[in-house]
């Protein structure tokens, strides 16, 4: 099962990275869209995370990193 999962993940990564390119600073317009953020609706995200925790003792895993406009 772990071997199948590993292979699946590797294939998924490879398929994504087959279109892997260097993104120039001025090409980040799409990445800066609100829809592309990890949490376009922070309040909804807070609520659902709380429900996951309170009802399923399922918390965490969302220390977000990366994406966005990359502006200085």
């Amino acid at each position: 099962m772990n071997k199948i999962l590993s292979c699946t993940i590797i294939l998924l990564v490879i398929s994504l990275t087959s279109a892997c390119t260097t993104v120039k600073p001025w090409e980040r317009g799409t990445l800066s869209k609100k829809e592309m953020s990890w949490s376009p609706d922070p309040l909804a995200n807070t609520l659902s995370e709380h429900i996951y925790f309170a009802k399923e003792a399922a918390a965490g895993g969302y220390g977000s990193a990366g994406g966005g406009c990359g502006c200085n």
Partner: protein, 361 residues
């Protein structure tokens, strides 16, 4: 239990975990590099209710209808200057309804739920504040907060750091947070004299994560989190059915470590003019105690079969090992193996049937 009355305590409040998700999780903010251009205020009102207990699972004692919940949230984002931004979040939540109390066997020896009466009425308020400090390639985000309701108080604090690598295509992030909780049950002690008056609980959580821009339309991130809970982790309002020992309290281990791995993908589609969100989380709790969750090492999924095994042996190591092996073997094979050991034991299967050696001295 024949002595349970139909109308249970009107002040019985469910333990609605106020040790809510720490802000290092809630504040899913990219390393944007700069505060927002202007202050903003957001508000949200949500209303939802839990599904009623199905008739087949209901004992007939208490109220079948579960919780109705209303939540009001407010968030204020205030850029203080070019390098610092303050975010203040708060939420007020009202909960009313009935809550599960304990499970007992019905006439066919199947487990059915005994509920409280639908008179629980509780409210919770929480507030937190976070600073985002942008220093070149680094973003440092300390946060503090608290949560309060009638029977549960929590305070927490944490800090996370994000660093963009030179090309801004890769972002590394790490964080650490701690929460200190106190539970003080507020139901009438005469209903349940054995329940604790006050207990404490702590949590420490740390995470590391990496985000990577794949191309101008795709970004992924992966985060690994370790969360350790210690102290009173049981539910003071809940009981465990045991025909030989009425009124047995919910009694969980006093520490628990949880491992979480998450992966997220965001991919823009020009055709749909929308972004695809794909999120995945995998949880694993590893316990050293024999009555805690155990993972099947072959599949990585929780085992099915015996829920709990207790064994008596001349040494703890023998008792613990035998119990663990019995659980891994599954229900029928596990019971058969326990019989072959010729050691006193008690086991509970997933249907809450209790079996074991009689006349244990």
């Amino acid at each position: 239990m024949s002595n349970i009355k139909q109308n249970l305590s009107p002040s019985l409040a469910a333990l609605y975990s106020a040790a809510f998700t720490l802000p290092i999780y809630n504040k899913a903010v990219e390393a944007a590099g700069a505060p927002d251009s202007a202050p903003s205020v957001s508000a949200r009102i949500s209303k939802y209710d839990e599904d009623n207990l199905s008739s087949g699972d209901f004992s007939g004692l208490g109220d079948q209808k579960r919780y109705d919940i209303e939540v009001g949230q407010v968030s204020i984002v205030y850029p203080i200057n070019d390098t610092v931004q303050l975010t203040v979040d708060s939420a007020y939540e009202k909960m009313s309804g009935a809550s599960p109390w304990f499970v007992q066997p019905d006439a066919q020896n199947n487990p059915v739920q005994v509920m409280s009466s639908a008179t629980i009425d509780d409210a919770r308020f929480d507030a937190s504040a976070k600073l985002d400090i942008y220093k070149g390639k680094y973003t440092i985000s300390p946060s503090v907060g608290f949560s309060t309701e009638k029977d549960y108080q929590a305070v927490f604090g944490g800090v996370s750091v994000a660093r963009e690598l030179d090309n801004k295509s890769t972002t590394l992030r790490a964080g650490l947070a701690a929460s200190f909780d106190e539970v003080k049950p507020t139901d009438d002690p005469s209903i349940d004299p054995g329940r604790p008056d006050k207990e404490d609980k702590e949590n420490v959580t740390g995470f590391v994560g990496i985000g990577q821009v794949i191309n101008k339309n795709t970004v992924v991130q992966s985060t690994f989190t370790v969360s350790h809970y210690s102290g009173y982790l049981s539910d003071p309002y809940k009981l465990v059915f045991n025909s030989a020992q009425p009124g047995l309290r919910d009694n969980r281990p006093d520490d628990r470590t949880q491992y979480i791995w998450s992966a997220q993908l965001r991919r823009w589609s020009e055709i749909f003019n929308a972004a695809l969100h794909a999120d995945y989380r995998f949880y694993m709790t590893i316990e050293g105690k024999r009555y805690a969750h155990i993972l099947n090492p072959k599949t990585g999924w929780p085992i099915e079969g015996l829920s709990a095994v207790s064994e008596i042996a001349s040494e703890c190591l023998i008792a613990g090992s035998c119990s663990t092996v019995a659980m891994l073997k599954g229900e029928e094979e596990g019971k058969s193996w326990l019989e072959d050991l010729k050691l006193p034991y008690i086991c509970i299967d997933n249907k809450m049937h209790i079996e074991g050696t009689t006349n244990i001295n």
